[in-house]
């Protein structure tokens, strides 16, 4: 159980974190999602104990772990960490990497300390590296390095596992494979995971809870589905759902776009805060694209990108560019074509968001 109360972190005059409040339950997989420079890595370093907050405090398991004046250093916390660059020690073998925290971590259980070899083998088996125990980092592939980093972090069975963009140094195929791996390890170790990433796909796929951050502030906290389908701020809508933000007025259950006062769009699961701002977020896949003669907003196709299972269009509608994703089984359009846009009414999505 981690309680973050009103934490602010300043570097000189730059404020990296603004009065952040967050609580992380035991065993929960929390993803901190945001663009680079949003303060997510700063937050992770505060959780690890590499630095002190400028104000506010952090409690772990009811004990004060960090405040402006006091700090439990990382080596005394019950944590494990996976670094963006893996941070493997070039002069140690795979086995030595796993044995190191077993020997030195304050929270390693006594029976493991007495038989480090057995526990190390157990951990290596868990990440599938038992054959490579005597290899050095320079002799490992990217995915294997990632597994060593994971094994080192989980070996002493810490309460909290901190992960700093652990997959960003891997190629795309490996990333998807490692997602499953990390989920499995989370299930089997029951550790609380705090996973920092800028990739909304990773956060949506793995997390129990997503914390979306921007400019050092929390924008929204919620389940992956809630964050995706019911964004509370314009930033979350465009960063997580890649939404087109349409300006207009909300009247009871329907939306009137400013540019098209005769249109009436159904409520497709828009939160109150966005309604108050007079915005309707429409995700690219929520558009229905039809021929010139059909009903809807008229626009001109600017770009067409074939993606295999989808086609991505940019459509210019009244001087705004909207992104539209269409299945390849729909009619296709070319650059310069005039098309009609309307919003798909999907009752299932509205239900799911509640």
């Amino acid at each position: 159980m981690i309680e973050v109360n009103n934490v602010t972190k300043q570097y000189g005059s730059f404020t990296a974190l603004h009065e952040m409040d967050l609580s992380i339950r035991k065993g929960e997989f929390t993803a901190i999602l945001g663009p680079s420079g949003c303060g997510k890595t700063t937050f992770l370093k505060l959780l690890a104990g590499f630095m002190k907050p400028s104000s506010g405090d952090i409690h772990i398991d009811g004990f004060l772990a960090a405040s402006k004046k006091r700090l439990v250093p990382p080596e005394k916390r019950n944590i494990g960490m996976v670094f963006q660059s893996f941070a493997l020690w070039p002069h140690m073998t795979v086995y030595e990497h796993v044995a190191f925290p077993l020997r030195h971590h304050h929270h390693t259980r006594d029976e493991w300390k007495q038989d480090i070899g057995a526990r190390a083998q157990q951990v290596l088996k868990l990440v599938g590296l038992e054959q490579l125990f005597d290899r050095y980092p320079a002799e490992l592939s990217g995915g294997q390095k990632q597994r060593v980093a994971l094994a080192r972090a989980i070996a002493p069975l810490p309460d909290v596992l901190l992960m700093d963009e652990p997959l960003s140094a891997l190629d795309i195929e490996l990333r998807v494979e490692m997602r499953n791996e990390i989920q499995r390890i989370h299930r089997e170790t029951h550790a609380s995971v705090v996973y920092v990433t800028h990739d909304q796909g990773e956060a949506l796929a793995m997390a129990d809870k997503i914390v979306v951050m921007n400019h050092g502030k929390i924008e929204q906290i919620g389940s992956p589905e809630a964050v995706y389908t019911r964004p509370e701020t314009a930033f979350v809508a465009s960063f997580v759902g890649k939404c087109n933000m349409v300006k207009g007025k909300w009247e009871q259950d329907f939306f009137i776009p400013n540019e098209f006062p005769w249109e009436r769009w159904p409520d497709i699961g828009v939160t109150e805060s966005l309604k108050e701002e007079g915005l309707c977020p429409v995700r690219p896949e929520q558009w229905k694209l039809a021929g010139e003669k059909e009903e809807g907003l008229k626009g001109t196709v600017l770009t067409v990108q074939y993606q295999g299972k989808e086609i991505h269009y940019t459509v210019e509608v009244e001087n705004e560019n909207w992104t539209v994703h269409q299945s390849v089984f729909q009619p296709k359009y070319g650059i310069g074509d005039t098309v009609s846009l309307s919003v798909k009414a999907e009752p299932s999505q509205k239900a799911a968001s509640l």
């Binding site: 990382p74 916390r77 494990g80 941070a87 020690w89 002069h91 030195h104 929270h107 599938g128 002493p156």
Partner: protein
């Protein structure tokens, strides 16, 4: 491939304890700063103070009398001529060599580099000794052509300073050239610029801050140098500031210390101004630090011109880095100075005398070696600690400490030696613990002077280790000594060892500071060679110097072999 196996039984629970270090850390830092100020800064102030005191009262009398003497202005003029001339020579040699080595495809570059470094690691007074033999009456040049240029002249001093210090300019600029992105040149060429234009409009302007920095470094080193003007200038009556100060102290006149202090302030002011200028330039060129070095050649010559260029470079390197030392070695084998180099005149007599009969040599060797070892040890521990504080970067105190420890190195050696005398003769006014006149003042002076070399070496080594290496160790529960022993020291080894070796070599062969601080019984290698040469025992000085050169080469090779071994064994690089 992965067995599903639960690893989630109960966890060990413990209440966390706070780091007790935070309270004491600040006090330790303040204490460290105080110590640094006392050792590195106060001596300089005592020198300043002495120059403006006359019989216990404030006075500008010393400045006035020095100001009026023509000898002062002759020394200043000589200093300016020699440093300016030699700096230009170092720049021309260093920059052109750096440009060729960075860009042109040549065979055997590794070996060329090694020969370029040679005059850098061999102390300049030994290089001078070698050149004196090479161009002397019984040297190869004279016997071949019946004539040889006279080294005991302004031209000789300029030439030797230039040749000894061009490796500094080379080292400084070769990476500047390598870090200029190839794409910038390609972009200029696709925009229609020819090779000459690219060099003049793109490469040189980009390299200019680096070249200027290298030039200033050469200027400072030339200004600081004592060995070359002492060996060549004193016999020819050419005085520069560093030798003039030395003569004041050696002369032991009634006001010699005060006069030396005034001259030192003059010389120190010039040097510090140069250092400040260099710092400004370095700040400007810092952008290139983030760019990756590109060691692949950019210019491929036709086979013929390439062979000609290679031959030219080898000829130059042979003449500057090899032949003089061979000449010195040859002379050291001749029974009596002046005899021709023939088999019947050769013997090991000189070596026998130097190493077995003259007791001074043995004690000098012993003194230099243990002084070097102790200095190295102190600098290694304390210097690495300071570098680590600086690397952690969370304290402005550490920044100040780094600035302070740079001062004694930026000052010319003669000036520092004087500072040491004034500061440690009576560390607290009225109390003389007898440091000056014993070997201990040498140890203090060496640590003060060369400390910054270790700080820089350790800092560079630390910068090359990703911060996450240490963070990973901490998260794994390691702190304090365990963290250093298991993680940091193995990774830092070559950087730390390189810095330590440099300190060791500098102390082992030091002459400038030693020549002013030595006393009977505390002679060092440099002092003994200098005294042999001043007394006219050239064959003895060459014998001792030849052995020293061989020892330095052996040390260098050992270090190279060790760091290769480290790369293979520790870093697992193929």
């Amino acid at each position: 491939m992965i067995s599903p196996q639960s690893a989630a039984p109960e966890r060990r629970r413990e209440a966390p304890s706070f780091s007790s270090f935070f309270g004491t850390k600040k006090w330790l830092m303040v204490l460290g700063l105080l110590l640094v100020v006392c050792v590195f800064v106060v001596p300089v102030f005592r020198l300043l103070l002495l120059s403006v005191l006359d019989k216990g009262a404030w006075s500008s009398a010393h400045y006035e009398s020095i100001w009026k003497e023509t000898a002062t202005w002759t020394a200043v003029r000589n200093t300016l001529y020699t440093t300016a001339g030699s700096t230009i020579l170092s720049l021309v040699l260093g920059v052109s060599m750096a440009w060729i080595m960075a860009y042109v495809h040549l065979r055997g570059k590794r070996w060329m580099q090694l020969f370029i470094f040679l005059p850098f690691i061999i102390p300049s007074y030994i290089t001078t000794l070698a050149w004196i033999q090479f161009l002397g009456k019984s040297g190869p040049v004279f016997s071949l052509f019946g004539w040889a240029p006279n080294l005991y002249s302004m031209g000789g001093i300029i030439f030797l300073l230039g040749v000894s210090h061009y490796p500094l300019v080379y080292l400084f600029t070769v990476d500047v050239f390598r870090k200029i992105p190839r794409e910038l040149e390609d972009a200029a060429r696709t925009s229609g610029a020819g090779r000459k234009h690219v060099l003049l409009k793109v490469v040189l302007p980009l390299a200019l801050p680096g070249i200027a920095g290298g030039g200033l470094l050469a200027f400072l080193t030339n200004l600081d140098n004592f060995g070359i003007p002492a060996f060549l200038g004193i016999p020819a009556n050419i005085r520069v500031l560093s030798t003039y100060i030395y003569e004041q102290i050696a002369g032991f006149g009634p006001s010699s210390f005060a006069r030396a202090a005034v001259l030192s302030v003059l010389l120190g002011a010039i040097a510090l101004a140069g250092t400040f200028l260099q710092w400004l330039l370095l700040k400007k060129s810092r952008v290139t630090e983030t760019v990756v070095r590109d060691t692949n050649p950019r210019i491929y010559l036709a086979p013929r011109p390439q062979q000609l260029l290679e031959a030219g470079i080898w000829l130059f390197l042979g003449v500057t880095s090899l032949v003089p030392f061979l000449a010195m070695g040859a002379l050291s084998l001749i029974k009596a100075y002046g005899l021709p180099f023939r088999p019947e005149n050769l013997s090991l007599e000189n070596y026998y005398y130097v190493f077995l009969e003259d007791a001074k040599t043995g004690s000098a060797l012993w003194n230099s070696v243990w002084l070097a070892v102790f200095t190295m040890g102190i600098c290694l521990v304390a210097g690495t600690a300071l570098a680590y504080l600086r690397y952690r970067g969370d304290s402005f105190l550490a920044k100040w400490m780094e600035l302070f420890v740079t001062v004694p190195y930026a000052l010319p050696g003669t000036v520092l030696a004087l500072c040491m005398i004034f500061a440690w003769m009576q560390p607290i006014p009225g109390w003389n613990p007898g440091l000056y006149g014993s070997v201990w003042i040498l140890l203090i002076a060496y640590v003060t002077r060369f400390f910054v070399l270790q700080v820089r070496g350790s800092y560079t080594a630390l910068l090359q280790v990703d911060p996450s290496m240490e963070e990973a160790a901490k998260v794994s529960g390691a702190y304090g000594w365990v963290k250093w022993r298991r993680i940091l020291l193995p990774l830092l080894f070559p950087g730390l060892a390189g810095g330590a070796l440099l300190v060791f070599l500098m102390v082992l062969t030091e002459l400038t500071v030693s020549s002013l601080l030595w006393s009977t019984g505390s002679e060092t290698i440099g002092v003994v060679i200098f005294n042999y040469e001043q007394a006219g025992y050239t064959t003895y000085s060459t014998a001792f110097a030849s052995v020293l050169v061989l020892a330095i080469l052996a040390g260098g090779l050992l270090f190279t072999a060790l760091s290769r071994q480290w790369e293979r064994k520790v870093m697992k690089k193929q």
